[in-house]
């Protein structure tokens, strides 16, 4: 009866996951490249996103929107949340699959014969023998009688003959060991693993986005140095051509340059004024735009002179920034490796302790 309920629940969960995936993929296939309004969402996804998306005007929404824009201006926060939903579904499936494999492995070791459990038993014979057995320490005698009676119910004659000659107390002890092992096949911690996997799926895109943005901020100074050189080398060229070169060569400033080119192409707006009056833009980007303004206004000699002077000034800063960046990155890698080592050590200790009391449990 229990198993049937489990199978029904599993089937329902699978149908629900299938439904979500179908909806999500249908929406993804239908959608166009967008930023906002041209995104065609189905009712389900629209409802889901309306619950999940941070409210307009909140700090969280502003920060996320800026990060997504900084990474790729053609994407929006809605698309980012869609990826988060997909990740949760994916990690749930992965977690369930990994857990199923682990539980199956543990189950395969339940009836293993060893010093604590010397009898060769199958799942079916165990089920028959323990029928009506309470495993209550106050009712041991009653349980022993029940086991005696149950042995006669075994369908396998050889098993019946073997267990008939065995002391009921020995068989009872074996059954307790098997019951303990069965209890360890699937525990509350395993459910926690699924929950943790879902949480990981939800948080992972957020962390990756944060890491990518911090990566871009990290290389900003070096990119500024490179683009400064590029302007220096092409200072005699037209600004529109230099802009295309800058766009092709930049990573951290790519979206900002893309936006600047749009402004620059619009003759009604003074693009330089728009950028130079902004406080929120990165200083390095503003400086690059100022160089471009100088190229257009004062000619290449002034720009080259200014860039040369700036490069000389930044000589020491460059080395410091490089050392700092490498130190940060090394720290991150060491932290990940250290975490892995700590996990394996903790696992070792837990395995050793659990072996003392509970028998073989694999973590």
């Amino acid at each position: 009866m229990d198993k049937t309920v489990l199978y029904v629940i599993l089937a329902l969960v699978l149908v629900a996951i299938g439904f979500v995936l179908k909806q999500v993929f249908a929406d993804i296939l239908e959608r166009k490249r967008f930023r906002g309004e041209s995104f065609t969402e189905g009712v389900f996804i629209s409802f889901l996103l309306s619950i999940l998306l941070p409210k307009e005007g909140t700090q969280k929404k502003r920060v996320l929107d800026n990060r997504v824009f900084f990474l790729d201006s053609t994407k929006s926060i809605r698309e980012f949340y869609l990826i988060r939903v997909l990740c949760v579904v994916f990690f749930f499936i992965m977690g369930s699959a990994i857990l199923t494999t682990t539980c199956m492995n543990r189950y395969s070791e339940v009836y293993t014969v060893d010093e604590t459990q010397p009898f060769t038993l199958t799942g079916a014979s165990y089920d028959t023998i323990v029928e009506g057995v309470t495993f209550n320490s106050l009712d041991v005698e009653k349980d022993l009688d029940t086991i005696k009676q149950n042995v006669y119910k075994l369908s396998d004659k050889a098993d019946r003959a073997k267990f008939d000659q065995t002391k009921p107390k020995d068989l009872y002890n074996s059954l307790i060991v098997i019951q303990d092992r069965l209890g360890g096949v699937f525990t509350i911690f395993d459910i926690l693993i699924i929950v943790a996997m879902c949480l990981l799926g939800w948080m992972l895109p957020f962390w990756i986005l944060g890491q990518l943005v911090s990566y871009l901020y990290g290389i900003m100074f070096f990119e500024f140095d490179r683009l400064e050189t590029l302007i220096y080398m092409n200072a005699s060229d037209k600004v529109s051509n230099i802009l295309q070169l800058l766009l092709a060569d930049s990573v951290a400033f790519r979206e900002l340059f893309r936006a600047f080119i749009d402004l620059y192409d619009n003759e009604e707006i003074d693009a330089y004024e728009q950028i130079l009056s902004q406080d929120t833009l990165p200083d390095y980007f503003v400086t690059l735009v100022r160089y471009l303004q100088l190229v257009e206004g004062s000619g290449n000699t002034v720009v080259c002179y200014e860039i040369s002077a700036n490069k000389d000034l930044n000589e020491d800063k460059l080395k410091d920034e490089l050392d700092h960046l490498i130190y940060k990155r090394k720290g991150k890698i060491n932290m990940i490796c250290g975490l892995a080592l700590v996990i394996s050590m903790v696992t070792m200790v837990i395995s050793a302790f659990s072996s003392l009391n509970l028998g073989a449990i694999s973590f």
Binding site: A97, T112, R226, K311, L322, I336, A340, L341, I343, S344
Partner: protein, 306 residues
């Protein structure tokens, strides 16, 4: 049935090893000049690679770097085709080796990812390391040209001096430059610029051309250009130097994780008296450790590009 499966397994392994060995020796022959042009098989494979966008992007980057390292566009193309051809069999061999220790499907999945990612990153990274070294050496030669032009304003003389005094790819590059320069100056500059293929060399060539055509003093701009290039390659080289060492550290960490996890299984076996089959490779905790170490290794490859 099991024998047939094993036979197929070994057949695939031998095929992969055969492909890798064949591509290696073909490239070696081409390098030694035993082929006058790219062999038909590799030429056709190169066309196929060109038709598949992700492979084309990967190969095009390899061609630029390999042309500089091996000194000719043909060798660059051949190298790129060989690498693209060898990556799949290499990945298969790596996966087959890793899979021996994987008893669960998720460990095999990690094995597939590792086998696919590592050879690609290794080839890309090792070639970039070589090109940075060569570009640094070419950069030094450009600085030498700038200083020698101060007392002998003939570009060919300076280039010939460099060709005599340098070694390796730099020597080869300047020999080709001098040979071409005697025949046609523009061709010589074009070949030089296309082979080195970086923006500093483009500027270097522009300055020399302006000097020869208009007589504009090249020394100060050449020195400024060399200084900027030195700064650029200092940044690039520094990141690679640090993270190449860190890759070995990550491997040591990985070995420690395997060792500690194995010790856990050993303790468990010793305390309970039961040997648990595949306890290490089927443990989710060990799987997490492995994933973390692989992420760290991939980050090393990503972070070395400052």
């Amino acid at each position: 049935m099991a024998i047939i499966v094993k036979l197929i397994y070994w057949l695939i392994a031998f095929l992969c090893i055969g492909t890798v060995v064949y591509t290696y020796f073909s490239f070696d022959k081409m390098k030694k000049g035993q082929y006058l042009e790219i062999p038909l098989f590799f030429s056709n494979m190169g066309d196929i690679v060109d038709g598949i966008p992700p492979l084309r992007i990967f190969a095009s980057k390899l061609i630029i770097d390999a042309s500089l390292v091996y000194g000719s566009a043909d060798l660059g193309k051949m190298y790129a085709t060989c690498v693209v051809l060898a990556i799949l069999p290499l990945s298969t061999i790596v996966f087959m080796t890793i899979n021996i220790f994987c008893s669960t499907w998720y460990m095999s999945l990690v094995g597939v990812l590792l086998a696919l990612v590592l050879p690609i990153m290794y080839f890309r990274s090792s070639l970039t390391d070589k090109t940075i070294q060569i570009r640094k050496s070419i950069l030094k030669s450009q600085e030498n040209i700038a200083s020698s032009l101060a007392y002998n304003p003939v570009v060919l003389d300076s280039a010939q001096t460099i060709a005599r005094t340098s070694s390796g790819p730099t020597k080869r590059l300047y020999k080709i430059f001098c040979n071409n320069y005697v025949v046609d100056r523009d061709v010589a500059y074009d070949v030089y610029q296309n082979t080195v293929s970086d923006s500093y060399t483009k500027t270097f060539v522009d300055i020399l051309k302006r000097f020869e055509e208009q007589g504009i003093n090249p020394i100060e701009p050449l020195q400024r250009n060399a200084k900027m290039a030195a700064r650029h390659y200092y940044i690039k080289g520094m990141g690679r130097k640090v993270f190449n060492g860190l890759k070995i550290m990550v491997l040591i960490y990985l070995a420690s994780c395997i060792g500690v996890s194995y010790m856990g299984v050993y303790l468990q076996t010793a305390m309970t008296g039961n040997a648990v089959e595949n306890a290490l490779s089927s443990s989710p905790a060990f799987f997490i450790c492995l994933c973390l170490n692989i992420i760290a290794l991939i980050l090393c490859f990503v972070y070395e590009n400052v």
